[in-house]
């Protein structure tokens, strides 16, 4: 397989190109902008046979993407931060109308105050909208996840949109070697979309997204819930078929030295890589620690998390969003999955602040402290 140096944004765009998306509607926002530039160029040069819609806002970007998907096209968009917040009304429509859209979210803090830099507050605001949410850690995953997400999203049993979290700058603008599959391989893995169910087709007319009375609404939502449950099963099959086709194995969580660990850190995205280095550093000082990275945040892999943490005495979750007013979102999920463990909730890496080995050391030092522990906080600032 050909190795190419690529950053996370270009890798995601390459994934979209190889998935042969047919309509792209997107609006630039740092740090996602290179994805849309990349695709606009590919379409302009004829490398990708698709229509590019230069929408005037992210709200329209997602509407146009949903519109394109509704008539059966494979549709793509990407956004970040304020752009995702502007889409919020339509993320509900995309999921509720069960459209298999794939959308990288190049994670950037939600204002205020304004920040250009990474945290997960943008994507966490969408966590209950009914999308599948995967978090990439490497440029390779940025490419692979786009391709496999279409396979997952378009599966008859699923029919749900997918957000792929790509940490702003830490992944979007970091260059790594990426194994780029051939177009033939991708075509064999991902055939053209066959639209199901909610499709606008003049030969088979349907009224979609009409006003729905209380007597029907719950059942339609229930179908959506079932689709999310199906997604958990289908995701396993999609990872397996992806491994068979491309030789790279993924799963809903990624474990590092968890088997014999007394204490396990849990995090998502690029900070999990730092976490693995921290584990090695801390183990050399005699701490039996491990690292658990959550890849699928929605559906949340409760059983896989329970399994990974079954030997651990203590769990320390590092959230990259503040979760004000309660426990932050990842900590909430993990503590629910393993309610009997000694549990520590930490917040780190907001608005682009580096998460370092020292951050994990500090997390270890607050083990057992109740409440939400803010790490790397500068007292007196």
């Amino acid at each position: 397989m050909k190795m190419t140096a690529m950053n996370g944004n270009d890798a995601a765009a390459a994934g979209a190109r190889m998935a042969r998306v047919q309509v792209v509607a997107a609006y630039p926002i740092t740090p996602q902008t290179p994805i849309v530039e990349n695709l606009a160029t590919a379409i302009d040069k004829g490398d990708l046979k698709a229509n590019y819609i230069n929408v005037e806002s992210e709200h329209s970007a997602l509407c146009a993407t949903v519109g394109a998907s509704l008539v059966g096209a494979r549709a793509f968009t990407a956004t970040a931060s304020a752009g995702l917040a502007l889409m919020h009304e339509i993320t509900g429509v995309a999921a509720g109308c069960r459209q298999p859209i794939v959308m990288p979210v190049v994670n950037r803090a939600i204002p205020s105050p304004w920040s250009l830099w990474c945290d997960h507050s943008d994507i966490m605001g969408e966590r209950d909208q009914g999308w599948i949410q995967l978090f990439a850690e490497t440029c390779q995953e940025a490419l692979d996840f786009v391709i496999l997400s279409y396979r997952l999203a378009e599966d008859k049993r699923v029919q749900l949109p997918v957000m792929i979290g790509i940490d702003g700058f830490f992944l979007s603008h970091i260059t790594e070697p990426v194994a780029v599959p051939s177009q033939e391989q991708v075509d064999a893995y991902l055939p053209p979309r066959e639209p199901h169910n909610l499709v606008l087709d003049v030969d088979n007319p349907l009224a979609i997204n009409t006003l729905t009375p209380p007597g029907l609404f719950t059942e339609i939502k229930y179908q959506h819930k079932q689709a999310m449950e199906n997604a958990a099963v289908v995701m396993g099959k999609v990872f397996a078929s992806f491994a068979a086709a491309f030789g790279r194995k993924y799963s809903v969580v990624k474990k590092y030295k968890t088997e014999d660990a007394d204490i396990v850190f849990v995090a998502m995205g690029t900070m999990a890589g730092t976490g693995r280095d921290a584990v090695d550093a801390l183990r050399s000082k005699g701490h039996k620690v491990g690292m658990l990275r959550i890849i699928s945040f929605r559906p949340f892999p409760t059983e896989a998390v329970q399994d990974a943490l079954k030997e651990a005495e203590k769990v320390i979750v590092l959230d990259r969003s503040a979760g004000l007013g309660s426990t932050p979102p990842l900590a909430l999920e993990v503590s629910r999955a393993v309610p009997d463990k000694s549990f520590t909730s930490c917040v780190a890496g907001l608005g682009g602040r580096d998460v370092t080995i020292a951050t994990y050391e500090q997390a270890l030092s607050v083990t057992g402290k109740t409440g939400v522990n803010w790490l790397d906080l500068k007292e007196g600032e």
Binding site: S60, A64, V66, G67, S69, A207
Partner: protein, 285 residues
């Protein structure tokens, strides 16, 4: 030729609803190879409720501000899928068009998608219970302008012409042949088209539902609602008036103007006449 019936009978709009009547004619002209987008508004009633729909063509209930944005995606996808012959039509109210949907509309027009956007203008937010919009005429009562609206309506047509839209027309549900012709013209436009349809609303304008046709017609005959089209910037008045009916007849026919004094009505009537002659002058430009 058999008439194409695109909209079922027995739909739950109000008695005397011009929006519904116009929709029947619109879909008959557009034909079966049409996809209709309606936002939350009275036109959403046509798209349906629960398990029922009014349209025999595919339809989608969009978000209020987003008919033109969804339409852009539908159009571009149809084109790449080799279904370029299918009409993509938005049927949206004045609120969804002139207010909250203006950005998406302007964007779609600037990009040049082949979209037919028909704004039925009932001059307020009716579906939410008669609140003012930027299309509400000066002086009109609504629940959010209880003392009558101050200031005139937004000149959406002038704005879109200034933007360079290839085809724009005004129409009235009371001059249905003129409307039908304009829908047929819009279907041939290789780009965006906009039809601004005056749509009398007995519920919101406070008149007897039996009077819908007459009230709508009065607006045109008084010169208040000028019927014209603009093709690539060139104006053509499609209904020229030999003489204008007194506009006061229009105002006094509706409960929403009943708080106005004689003087106020006369002043609005005078403005209406000026408006008519201003459009006629554009034709001669």
């Amino acid at each position: 030729m058999n008439k194409f019936i695109g909209l079922a009978n027995g739909i739950t709009t109000c008695e005397g609803c011009a929006m519904e009547t116009a929709a029947r004619h619109m879909i008959e002209i557009l034909g079966p190879r049409t996809i209709i987008l309606t936002p939350p508004s009275c036109s959403a009633i046509l798209t349906g409720f629960g398990r029922e729909t009014g349209w025999t063509v595919p339809s989608f209930m969009s978000n209020l501000e987003a008919v033109a944005a969804y339409g852009s995606g539908v159009r571009e996808a149809l084109d790449i899928l080799g279904k370029g012959d299918v009409n993509v039509v938005g049927y949206a109210g004045d609120g969804g068009t002139l207010d909250i949907g203006l950005q998406a509309l302007s964007g779609a027009i600037e990009r040049g998608h082949r979209l037919i956007y028909i704004c039925y203008d009932n001059e307020a937010y009716m579906n939410t219970g008669i609140q003012r919009s930027s299309a509400t005429p000066a002086g009109a009562w609504t629940t959010t302008t209880p003392g009558g609206k101050r200031g005139d309506r937004k000149d959406i047509d002038g704005m879109l012409v200034a933007q360079g839209i290839p085809y724009l027309a005004t129409a009235s549900a009371s001059y249905i042949d003129d409307f039908r012709n304009k829908v047929a013209t819009a279907m041939k436009v290789d780009g965006p088209s906009f039809i601004h349809l005056h749509s009398a609303c007995p519920t919101g304008w406070r008149f007897n539902p039996a009077e819908t046709y007459r009230v709508g017609k009065l607006a045109v005959d008084c010169g208040l609602w000028v019927l014209y089209e603009v093709v690539n910037g060139k104006y053509r008045v499609t209904r020229k008036l030999k003489s204008l009916e007194p506009a006061s007849n229009y105002f006094t026919a509706q409960g929403r103007f009943k708080h106005l004094s004689r003087q106020e009505i006369d002043s609005l009537a005078a403005q209406a006449q000026e408006g008519y002659y201003a459009i006629v002058a554009k034709e001669n430009d």
